[in-house]
Each structure stands twice: as structure tokens, then as C-alpha cells.
Symmetry: C2
Amino acid sequence: MDRPGGAGTEGLRRDNTAAVLRSLRRRGPSTRVELAKDTGLAKATVGVIVADLQAAGAVAEEGSRPGVRGRPGRPVALRGDDVVALGLELNVDYTSAVVLDLAGQVVLSESRPGGGDTADLLALARDAYAVAVGEGRRLVGATVAVPALVRGDNRTIAWAPNLHLDGAGLADDLAATLADLGAGPAPVVRVSNDANCAAYAESHHGAARGAAHALYLTGTVGIGAGIVQDGELVRGGAGFAGEVGHMPLGDASAVCGCGRHGCWEASVGLHAMLAEVQMLELDTPLRTAEAVAERAATDPGVRAGLERVGRGVGLGIAMLSSVLDPEVVVLGGYFAPLGDLVLDPARRTLDERLASAVQVRPELRLSTLGIRAAALGAAEQSLGPVFSGGLDLTS
Amino acid sequence: MDRPGGAGTEGLRRDNTAAVLRSLRRRGPSTRVELAKDTGLAKATVGVIVADLQAAGAVAEEGSRPGVRGRPGRPVALRGDDVVALGLELNVDYTSAVVLDLAGQVVLSESRPGGGDTADLLALARDAYAVAVGEGRRLVGATVAVPALVRGDNRTIAWAPNLHLDGAGLADDLAATLADLGAGPAPVVRVSNDANCAAYAESHHGAARGAAHALYLTGTVGIGAGIVQDGELVRGGAGFAGEVGHMPLGDASAVCGCGRHGCWEASVGLHAMLAEVQMLELDTPLRTAEAVAERAATDPGVRAGLERVGRGVGLGIAMLSSVLDPEVVVLGGYFAPLGDLVLDPARRTLDERLASAVQVRPELRLSTLGIRAAALGAAEQSLGPVFSGGLDLTS
DNA sequence: TGACATTAGTTCGAGACTCGTACTTAATAG
DNA sequence: CTATTAAGTACGAGTCTCGAACTAATGTCA
């Protein structure tokens, strides 16, 4: 029980097939010779693997690219028509679904207000399946992003402070729902932390694309982080990694909802921000932040308040950078609508607080995926095994 | 250039051989059937692999264990007589060498005072080679631990604030020295950060053995951390992960050597600790801490000072735990001689500051490896490829 | 004491895979 | 129209894993 790849020669084939798929995802359409060079496999081997993938509907040939001497190569590309993955998000005030195909295209993206209910989530899953999976396609996996602490089994929930959830049943319920719908092989169902999912999405599709070491921060009432190191999520011993909202960091006078003093989110969480700008909360964090941004255009007092919040954000990022040294930090949640109003002071504080003159400041960017980040990352996670050799499309 | 294992069937054999070696390391002497069960390979395959390893001198049969029905199994064990790795540490005030054999035994461990000089290090390497490697043995790799920022190539140094080093040459010089000595295949030479090496050692041999998620803290004049997640070191985008000394955390009045205020090491570094207990620095941090510990037995003022330092330590660990969620935190450097004088207040502070009621406090332990931790971890890192399939002993 | 049950390890042939070489195919250059 | 160049395929050799059958070594029980 040691090697994930599988021991025998067919395990070897799975790994090599996955390598070809990864190469196609990273470099786009490629000829067999290009694939052979990129993967290190022999031309002949790539030929066989591509033929298998073609038969499975995972790749297709494109029109050839002429113009050079010699026989023109026939590029092969990932094909999204047959294989998809489903990502869901169950949050406090909304529910989302994203269907992602093998080629990385978003086939469906839907959010519904009023969340927190498992039945709503399953209904959304059924609808998404009907629209975007249906007959011809194969659903390889589904992942539910939840604002909760998920155990190492990737199925059960250890702690969900804001959600009333029967921690054990969610994955099983979804698996049963999907099994009713589909005829083919049962998809792999998993549960995952929402900040981790969003971080994964940003590092694959969004603002941190291409960065192997990224940090995602989401700001709502609380502050959460998702950590990507070497392309993989850092989860910690019990899944608590990234619970940065209660870092003892802010000024000691600020009282946090947890009862302690000086927590980071007591200085930069949504409520602290609203107190700084002396405005009231609207129905969702995003809409609230949009209203604040609008007011900031005319009100210098609001801008000054956001400046103070931004400095607090920068201080926390300095802290996290000292520990993790990310290349990119992506800010999501309520930070996104505020943009440079918060980012600029954060950058300045960060520059003052870098660990050394040699360390480069991580790039601070705004989330580009918005509310569907978590669901998208969940779908991407479900697609993961296809590219890592955990799932064989050709069998 | 994608799959590290190697593509062909001999790469598969390398992976399976490594799996057998890992199983032997983890579970100790095992019969072929036990190995087959543990690795998932077929009995026949394990038989072939063990025969190859035996021929290479990597494993040997032990006396059989009778007493049960049926033919008694013949346990096979890792054999240290033929394969060793060298770990070196080049520090400011000392130089160390450790030779570790394949069975995990320390064959040689030596420290010499007065460090910082490359020539001294090479001389120590030569001596260690002569004593512990010599004729019959094969040196598979050597790693130098340095208090410096090491680039992603694992050979060159990007920044060494306390050391005068020609950053590029160290690895090459050592490789040349070893090539002169040995006849066999040239060992792989690498350079690595000292805190990372120590963390690796503690998680394999020391106080954090068995923990997949561990954090190592070393306290001297500065504070450094080594982070182990899922058994692997976290290095960050540019190798700066774990540079926690300048986390903006302490009270803002404390001025740090870096010129800023509020750095963690300005509150809990060696000099801050000495100021708290009103004592003077001796020749090395360890000896200084021993003197302080001795004085604490009789002087309540010293105990009170250490109490304050311990609270600062606990606060920083609370911070790091929020981000990384380690199972075990190991304290090394000057903290080790002080023991519970620092650990007890740190534990109390940590209990007060945990992110939630659900999160379990990471275990705080003292380093058991002392000054040779870094060199030992360096040796262990050099042995790594043997167990990960990166190096084939049988060819 | 000796046949039997039980477990460990080996032998052997089948099947799967990768690889290098030689060959075929399809385009451009002159 | 021919030479050249490069992509893709066919094929045989080599390596590997696997399951089944077989041999080996020990305890059990009559």
C-alpha cells in the first residue's frame, strides 16, 4: 500500500498516459513528436498512448499546421466533449455549481442565493448534471466545497461553525444522488475546504496561474487562507492549516468574535472594516464592499479607513510571507471590490516589513474568479486524478 | 521531462525496489511475504527484488523466527555495511560531520569548534571519509547544511548574512574533494538550509519522529524555522519559507537587529532573552543557555524573565500553528537547555491562543539531537534518493 | 514416529509495456 | 519531377510484473 501509481506495467501505462495529458494541458495542442520530447517517452510509445486516448474520446486531432519543410505534424488537443467534473459549493448564503470539462472549459456555472441546506445542494447537483453532463458525457468526479474543517479522508466534516451539517452524510448523499442519475462508472465524490478550493482555482485558472507557490486570502466576516506549495494544497496535521483569522497580530484592544483580543480578523474582517469606514452591513459581504468602494470615491474618511484596514492586511501578509514565501498572494472575498483602496496600503506595509533586503515581495493580486472560485476549484480538484494517473480514462 | 521515476520498465523496477526499501525502513526486518503484503507487489516480484538488493549488499537475511506453524520466514533487513551518506554542517562557530548508513545508524559524528571556513569543512569531510567510508563502502551522497538561503537548484547560495561564502563554489569544491578520494561513482553533492536539515532530522530520528507535519524552531541570535508537511520540506517560492525571525509580532517597542520594530526575534532571540534575565553572553549560544538554566535554579528573577520569553515563544508558535497546523513543534538551539523553563509558559500561552476549541494544541518538545541535528538531517537528505527511487543501488 | 497441514519462497510461462530501428507517408525546395 | 526533410507507424527485442504450480521447511496430531 505504498505506490499510488500501481505496481505493474499497466500502472506504468497509466502514469505515462497521465504524463501525456499533463503535457497537453500545460502546452496546449501538440504533435506526437512534441509530446515525445516533452514527456521523455519514445515516439512509438506516444503514438500508442495517443491512439488509446483518441479511442476514449479524451483527445482529438486538429488541423495540421503547414508551412515548414517535411511532413507536417498533426496536433492533438484535449477534448472536452466526453469527460467532465462537477464542483459544488455549499456556503452560508449561497450555493454554486461549476461543470468543468477535460479541456479546462467551464461548461456550466450557476449560483443560487440562500444556502446552507443540503437538499438545495443536491437539487442543484441534479440540475447541473441534467444540463451539462446528461447522456453522452462521463462524470469522473464531484467535489463539494464547504466552509468547514474537513478530515483527511476528504469526505467527512470535523467542524463547521457556521453551517448546520450532518458531517458524515454529505459525501454519501451526493454519491447516492449521482448514482441515481448516471449509468456509467460511479464518480469519485469528495468534500473539501472552500478556501483551499478557491486557492486551487486561482492557481490553475485565476490570478495566480502559473505560480507554484501561492496564497489565497478570503475576507468575509472571518479571514481564511488557502495555501498552495509546489502546486499542491497544504492541509496541516488535522486540516487546520490556513485558519489564519485568529493569528495574534492586530492591536491588542480589538476584541474578536472568538472572545480573544488581537486576532487578525478583528482588525481586517468585514465588521472591522465597516467600523473603520462607519458604514452598515448589507445582505452579502460582496454587496457591502461594493457600496463601500462606491462611497470611497467621494468620501476621504472612507478612504482613510480603508487605508488603515489595508495596512492591517499588509501586516498579516508580511507575517504569512515570512512563513511561506509565496510568489503570489490573491485576495478574494470582500477585498476584491475594494481593489487598490486596500491593496496599495497593503503593498506599502509589506515593503516595510519584508524579512530581508533580498526577499522579493510577493505579488498582490485581486481574485479574478469571484464567487465561483470555490466551486471551480472543487471541479478542478475532481479533475485532478485524471492528470495525476489516479484515474484511467482509456479502460 | 516530467516523470521523475523514469518511463520505461527499468524505471518501474527502480520504483518498486525503492518501495521495498521504504517498507524495510518503516517496518524493520521483514520476510518476503510481509514485504509483498506491505508493498502490494507479488511474491515473485519481491523475491527478485530482494535477491538484487542482496547482491548489491543493501540487505541481508537474518536468523529465522520459528515458533509458528508452517515454513518459517527468513527476515531480511537493511544492511548498513556497504552504503552510507555524508552530512556536513558549516556554521558560524562550528563545523560538523555525520555519516549515516543505509540502516539508519550513525557511523560517525564529529563537531569541531571555530567554523565559517570552507577549507575547514573540506578537511573535516576528508577525515570523515577516511574514517567512516574508506574502501569497502559506497558513498551515495553528501549534503552541506548552511545557515543561508539556498536556491532551488540545491547547490548555490543566494544569501548568507552571517557567513563569508563564495556561494557558487561550495558544492563544486566538495564534489571535487570527494571525487579525489573515492573510486566509485561520484556521490551527489547538495547544499541545504540548516534549519530545514534539522527539521528533517527531528522528523526522522528525533523528537518529531513519526509526525508527518512538524515544525522545528531553532533559537540563536536569530530565530529560524524548518517546516515539514507530509514528510517533505516546505521551501517556498524562493527558498525563504521558515524565515520567521522577523515576523511582525512582538511588542512594537523592541528594536531588532534588522532595524525594524516588533520582530519576533527581538522578543525571543538570544539577546532579548539575556536582557530579560540580565545576564551576559558566553562564547556559544548553548553554553550561554546552560548558564542561564543553572542560574534559574536559584534566582526567581531569572525564572520570571524566562517566563516572559516563554510567553513570547508561545505567541509565535500560536501564529505558526494557525498557518501550518503541525502535530509536533520541536524547539532546538538555545531553547533546548532551558527546557520547561521556557516550554511551560509557551504551552500556557498557546492554549490561550488556539484558533478554535476544536483545534488540538501541537505537542511542544525539546530537540533531542542537539548540535548535530543539522548534519544528521543533511545526511538523511542525502540518503533520501535511495528510498524515493532517485538512485538505484543495484546497478 | 510419520503422515498431514500450513506457510515461505522459487520457477516458469503468459501478458503488458517501452524502446530503437527501419520503414512509410506527406509535405516543401529546387 | 526529384531530392530532402520531418512525422508517424510497424516490428522485434528486452524488461518487467503477475498468477499458478511447485518445492521447501516447520509444527501438529494421530
